[in-house]
Amino acid sequence: MNNNKVIQVEGLTKMFGDFTAVNAITFEVEKGEIFGFLGANGAGKTTAMKMLIGISKPTSGEANVAGFDVFTHAEDIKKNIGYMSQKFALYDDLTVKENITFFGGIYGLSRKIIKEKSDVLIAELGLEKVANQLVGSLPLGWKQKLSFSVSLLHDPKIVFLDEPTGGVDPITRRQFWEMIYKASNQGTTVFVTTHYMDEAEYCDRVSIMVNGKIEALDTPKKLKKQFNAATMNDVFLKLARG
């Protein structure tokens, strides 16, 4: 296996009865890359992602994530990835600090490391004043930024973001993407699904899923050229409409 490829997927398929949710998808993601995983609702994005993060068993095909096989070593994959879903990853009835401590704890970090990391994290996000407040009282944008930072707490090789910026304002989205860039620069691979086509432009490479298949995969620039479109939005519409 090439060390630079942190995700290698070949012919990965998931069937629910007769229905093929994910149809033999094949792709690779390199270390430190920001990989956009696009598709309309129901195209199979979430199912594909669940197979990669080890909570859904593929029907057939091969997939290797962070150096481990999804069929045989799902537990090892879990230790090496971070995950943030479109629903909130944090507990509203715990304080900022308690959330950090809890998530650090379930990833097996020592108390000392958790303490260090949580101080750094709180300082970086400017949350000093609210560190002991319940997360439920924070604005949506803060929660999402905190949630992303928490998913990076255990220094995962890859972080999976499932529509991380749903429902937040453009400024917060912008700040969020700055955080994503920072993580990527530090060598963390970012695998992100999104609905926002302007965000697709920020990705290094983008794949577009239609009806369980990956119909396009390249850099945003090349995709726009290939489909003769001005924006990623147009690329997406052309593909989705067939």
């Binding site: 909570i55 879903s85 909130f88 507990y91 009835d93 704890g105």
Partner: protein
């Protein structure tokens, strides 16, 4: 292990920060036991009774005076024939009639034995039972005093007759019943809600993606409730001992063990419910309709199983609470040991294993 402790800590934060669940956890048991305790009270005061005296001799007079002097009874009527008894009851004038047999003193001296009949209106079975107990107590005391003086043991035989409801149930019924309800509520309902809450909020997904194993997540969620349920059981037993003076006849240790067994079976039910419901509301409805109602109606807590129609009697067998109530009634009221309740205990163990096995299976399917 450290991960697990962190997890449990978080569960306690959830519980202690949610005022609703705190209330259910601690307010409810105390409120219920007090309500039931005082509603089904065993205290009586100035109960109106009637006397039917066929002998009218020194002894019956003395006994009548003794009863009249006690603060529990006041003699409202003196009736002269058996036929009057029915009429005073029907009019609701009195709650009980004491009927002295003919030649009471004579019988006592000659045969060392005389009979007094206590007839009570058992439309209110608890009061009826209490009245007869109190009359008995007064009679026994009188007997003791007399026996001391004349040095010949003689016996006043009280003969209790409950009219209108011959099948009387114990007043201490409510403590085992409330204990069962509370443990069921805390263990099954609260766990099923707390697990579905994580599902609903999407945090369950996060936990499943983490290196925690699914069974660790479940045990971590369930553990605090085992702990809190045990505390509740202790509180209930203490309240019943100290507030309601209800002695625990049997072994407290055995009572504890059986309670833990029941708690685990209720938790298994809670987990099972959480695997089939997606939202907290569904979990709550299933718990209430599927667990609480049968526990209240079919466990024998309020309505005696023996007087239910056969189909309901059969259904009552699959309710764990029924067996637990038999067990704790045995231990608390009759003071029996494990040799008398091993069958019920085994049934409870079987049900627990079945529920756990089923929920493990369900849980796996859900993860696929």
């Amino acid at each position: 292990m450290k991960r697990f402790i962190g997890f449990i800590k978080k569960e306690f934060y959830h519980i202690f920060r949610d005022k609703r669940s705190l209330f259910i956890l601690f307010g409810m048991p105390i409120a219920q036991i007090l309500l039931f305790g005082f509603a089904i009270t065993n205290e009586i005061n100035n109960v109106d009774i009637a006397i039917l005296d066929h002998s009218k001799d020194a002894t019956t007079n003395e006994i009548t005076n003794k009863i009249a002097a006690s603060k529990y009874f006041s003699i409202k009527k003196i009736v002269t024939s058996e036929a009057d008894i029915t009429s005073v009851f029907k009019k609701g004038h009195v709650k009980a009639v004491l009927n002295f047999e003919k030649d009471f003193s004579k019988n006592l001296i000659k045969e060392h034995k005389a009979t007094i009949q206590i007839i009570t209106d058992a439309t209110d079975p608890n009061t009826a039972n209490t009245i007869s107990n109190y009359v008995n107590a007064i009679l026994q005391q009188y007997q003791k005093e007399q026996n001391k003086e004349i040095k010949i043991a003689y016996q006043i035989v009280p003969e209790t007759r409950m009219v209108y409801n011959p099948e009387l149930k114990s007043v201490y019924m409510f403590v085992p019943g409330v204990m069962t309800i509370i443990l069921m509520l805390v263990s099954a309902m609260m766990t099923s809600i707390s697990i579905t809450r994580e599902k609903e909020l999407g945090t369950m997904e996060i936990l499943l993606v983490s290196p925690l194993k699914p069974f660790q997540v479940i045990i971590g969620k369930v553990f605090p409730y085992i702990f809190l349920s045990i505390i509740n059981a202790i509180v209930i037993v203490l309240l019943s001992i100290f507030i309601f003076k209800m002695p625990v006849q049997g072994s407290l240790f055995l009572l504890g063990l059986e309670s833990v067994l029941f708690i685990i079976s209720a938790l298994a039910l809670g987990i099972l419910i959480s695997t089939i419901s997606e939202t907290q509301q569904t979990a709550m409805m299933i718990s209430l309709m599927g667990l609480m109602l049968p526990v209240i109606l079919l466990s024998g807590f309020i309505f005696p199983i023996s007087s239910m129609p056969v189909p309901l009697q059969l259904i009552s067998n699959i309710i764990p609470a029924k067996w637990f109530i038999i067990i704790i009634k045995g231990i608390m009221l009759k003071g029996v040991g494990i040799q008398f309740i091993w069958k019920e205990t085994l049934i409870l163990v079987g049900m627990t294993v079945f529920c756990i096995a089923l929920s493990v299976k369900k849980y796996k399917i859900r993860l696929e």
